[in-house]
C-alpha cells in the first residue's frame, strides 16, 4: 500500500486536501477508519481484507467536514455511495478526492467523477456473491416461512440504530423514528415495532442501496438486515433495470415516473 501512502502524503503536503479518510490498524485484530490530517502520519494508513467499513458515511458527518477538503480511500461500494451522495446533492463532486481501490487492492487513478463513473460502469453491480445464496434461500421460502424468519431475527433488535448510522445513504438529520408528532414507529423495542422500523428503513433505501452490507455488519446482535435492502436491489433492477450509485445525474427510482415504467408489481 505504499502508493496509497505516497499519494495521501502528497495530497496533504501540497494542501490539496486537509484530511484523508482511510483505514488504520487498531489495538485489536480489526481495522478501523482513520482521519489523517498530518502528512507525517500518512504512514499509518493500511489497506487489506480487514478494511471493510463503508467510509462514505463520514462525508456527511459535521466534524469531519469541518476539517476541510477531504480525500477518501474508496473501494467500489464507497465510490458508488459517493455517486449517490452527489446525485442526491449531499456532497459536491469537486469537493472530494477519491483514492480508488480496485478489487485486487491496488490504487486506481480516479482523476474526476467521469473516470469514477467509467470504473463503476465496468464493475459488477449486483449483490455480492457471498449474499446471493442467502437471498435465493429466503426467496424460496413461502411468505409465511419468510415472515417467521424475519420475525425471529427482528425480535432481537435493540433499536440501537447502528444499521442506520453505518449507512452512508441514511444521512437525514432527523430520522422518521425521531419524529413523535405523530409517532410513526414505537420508541420501545418490540417485535412488531422492530419490524416496522426495518421495513421502513429498507423501503427508504429502495433504489438507493448500493449493496455494501454495512448495516448488517454494524448490527451488534447479528441481524442480517442487509438482506432486506439487498433484496430490494434485486427488485429495483428487475423492475426498472437500474443499479444505484452509477451516475452523478441519477434520479431516484421511487420518486420518478417514466411512462414506460413496469406496473406489474402494483396489486
Amino acid at each position: 500500500m505504499n502508493s496509497l501512502i505516497t499519494r495521501a502524503k502528497e495530497l496533504l503536503e501540497n494542501k490539496s486536501v486537509q484530511v484523508v479518510i482511510g483505514y488504520e490498524a487498531g489495538p485489536t485484530s480489526v481495522a478501523r477508519p482513520a482521519f489523517i490530517t498530518d502528512p507525517a502520519k500518512a504512514g499509518t494508513l493500511i489497506y487489506d481484507e480487514r478494511c471493510v467499513q463503508n467510509l462514505a458515511v463520514y462525508l456527511t458527518k459535521p466534524e469531519v467536514k469541518h476539517l476541510g477538503k477531504m480525500a477518501i480511500v474508496a473501494t467500489l461500494p464507497v465510490m458508488r455511495s459517493i455517486m449517490m451522495l452527489i446525485s442526491e446533492q449531499q456532497i459536491f463532486a469537486d469537493s472530494i478526492v477519491v483514492l480508488g481501490i480496485s478489487a485486487d487492492g491496488s490504487l486506481l487513478d480516479i482523476a474526476d467523477v467521469k473516470v469514477m463513473q467509467g470504473y463503476i460502469e465496468k464493475s459488477d453491480l449486483g449483490n455480492p456473491e457471498k449474499y446471493k445464496e442467502l437471498l435465493a434461500e429466503l426467496n424460496k421460502l413461502s411468505p409465511e416461512e419468510r415472515f417467521a424468519f424475519w420475525q425471529k431475527e427482528l425480535s432481537k433488535c435493540i433499536k440501537c440504530y447502528a444499521c442506520r448510522q453505518a449507512c452512508p445513504m441514511c444521512y437525514c438529520t432527523r430520522c422518521t423514528v425521531e419524529v413523535n408528532q405523530p409517532q410513526w414507529i414505537p420508541v420501545q423495542s418490540n417485535t412488531h415495532g422492530n419490524m416496522e422500523w426495518h421495513i421502513l428503513r429498507a423501503m427508504h433505501l429502495a433504489g438507493r442501496c448500493i449493496s455494501c452490507g454495512e448495516c448488517g455488519r454494524a448490527c451488534p446482535v447479528g441481524i442480517p438486515c442487509h438482506l432486506l435492502t439487498m433484496h430490494l436491489v434485486d427488485q429495483v433492477h428487475n423492475y426498472f433495470n437500474v443499479y444505484a450509485g452509477t451516475s452523478e445525474k441519477m434520479s431516484s427510482v421511487l420518486s420518478t415516473f417514466e411512462p414506460n415504467d413496469k406496473e406489474s408489481f402494483i396489486i
Partner: protein, 336 residues
C-alpha cells in the same frame, strides 16, 4: 455472612441446575446457532455453556428490562383511571454462570437507581435476583476488568461464585444468605474443598482508573474528544450492550381510550437524547456525546455515586461497528 468454600462436582452442578430450573426462572448462557452467546430462561443443562467469554448483550435486563411498563391508564369523558403494576408479581430469577464483571455491575446499577429516589421497579427486581456467578477461565483482548478494580474471579455481586478447579470440578464460594438459601435446597451436593487449585484467566491491566479520574477533572475542553471520536457514527450499540448504562426514555402509548406509560433503554450517543423542545441541543456533535460517555463513567460517577460506571467487560468495544476501543482511549487519557 462469612464466606464458606465448598467443592461441587460437574455432575452435582447439573443436579443443582435441574433442581433450580424445575421450580424457578433460571437465566443461563447458551451458544446460539449464529455463534453469539445469549442468555435464555431455563434451557436444558446440556445447552448451557461454561466456555463463553462474554454474551453479546449483558444481563442487566433482569433488573432493568429493555422495556418496562410503569402503569396503564384509561381515559373516560371526565376522568382517567390509572392502574399500577403489581410489583409482587415479579418472579425470583436465578442468574446462572454470569461472569464477575457482569455481577459487579448490579451494585453500580443499584447506586444509580437509588441515587436520589428509590426506583421501586429496579429494587423489586434486584431483591428477587439470586446470582450464581462463574469466574473466568477464558478472556480476550477486549477484557479489562483488572483496570477497573475487579479481577476475573471477583466475588462482588455474586451470591455463590463458582470457579473451575483443575480437575474439572468447581469451587463454590457461598457469599450471602441468598446463596446459602440455594445450598440448603440440596446441601449434599456441596462437598468439603479438595485442595485443588482454581483455574483463573489472566487479564492484563491497561490503565489506572484512579489516575484517569484525576486527569478527567481538567480534560473537558481537551482536543482529545474531537480527535478520538471522529470515527464514532453515533449509534447506541455501546450503551445497549453495556451492563451499567442505565439511561432510559419514558413514553406513553395510547390506543383509543387506553394506554400505558413505559420506559425503555436510551443512549447518550444519540443526538436526540439532549435535544430541547426549543430546538437547542447542548450536545450538538458526536465528540460531545462521546466525552459525556467517558466522563459519566469515569469522572461523574466516582464523584457522585462513589463507584466507577464501568466493569471492564469490553462489550462496548467488541460490539462497536467502528472500533471505538474504550480501554485504549482511557489508557491515552491517563497520559494526557
Amino acid at each position: 455472612m462469612e464466606t464458606t468454600r465448598k467443592s461441587i462436582r460437574k455432575q452435582s452442578l447439573e443436579k443443582l441446575y435441574n433442581l433450580l430450573s424445575a421450580s424457578r426462572k433460571v437465566y443461563a448462557p447458551v451458544i446460539a446457532p449464529d455463534k453469539q452467546v445469549e442468555y435464555k430462561y431455563n434451557p436444558d443443562f446440556a445447552e448451557v455453556t461454561f466456555e463463553h467469554i462474554r454474551s453479546t448483550l449483558s444481563v442487566k435486563n433482569v433488573v432493568f428490562p429493555k422495556v418496562e411498563n410503569l402503569f396503564f391508564y384509561s381515559n373516560a369523558k371526565t376522568e382517567s383511571t390509572i392502574t399500577d403494576i403489581d410489583l409482587n408479581k415479579i418472579p425470583e430469577i436465578v442468574l446462572w454462570g454470569t461472569h464477575p464483571c457482569d455481577n459487579a455491575a448490579f451494585d453500580i446499577l443499584r447506586s444509580i437507581f437509588s441515587w436520589d429516589i428509590n426506583d421501586e421497579f429496579f429494587s423489586k427486581r434486584f431483591e428477587k435476583l439470586v446470582v450464581i456467578g462463574l469466574s473466568c477461565h477464558l478472556s480476550d483482548e477486549y477484557c479489562f476488568c483488572t483496570s477497573v478494580g475487579l479481577t476475573p474471579n471477583s466475588a462482588k455481586g455474586s451470591d455463590i461464585l463458582l470457579s473451575r478447579l483443575q480437575n474439572g470440578d468447581y469451587q463454590a464460594e457461598i457469599l450471602t444468605e441468598k446463596g446459602n438459601g440455594i445450598v440448603t435446597l440440596s446441601p449434599e451436593l456441596f462437598e468439603p474443598i479438595s485442595g485443588e487449585e482454581v483455574t483463573v484467566t489472566e487479564v492484563k491491566q491497561k490503565f489506572n482508573h484512579e489516575q484517569v479520574t484525576v486527569k478527567l477533572a481538567s480534560a473537558f475542553e481537551n482536543r482529545f474528544w474531537i480527535e478520538n471520536s471522529l470515527r464514532c457514527i453515533g449509534c447506541g450499540a455501546c450503551a445497549y450492550v453495556c451492563p451499567t448504562c442505565a439511561c432510559f426514555d419514558i413514553q406513553d402509548e395510547t390506543k383509543g381510550k387506553n394506554g400505558k406509560r413505559y420506559r425503555s433503554w436510551d443512549s447518550c450517543g444519540f443526538g436526540l437524547f439532549t435535544l430541547h423542545t426549543s430546538g437547542h441541543n447542548p450536545r450538538q456533535v458526536q465528540s460531545q456525546r462521546w466525552r459525556q460517555r467517558i466522563m459519566h463513567k469515569f469522572s461523574y460517577m466516582p464523584e457522585r455515586n462513589e463507584s466507577l460506571g464501568c466493569v471492564g467487560c469490553g462489550r462496548c468495544s467488541s460490539g462497536c461497528p467502528v472500533d471505538m476501543n474504550i480501554a485504549e482511549q482511557l489508557e491515552a487519557l491517563q497520559n494526557i
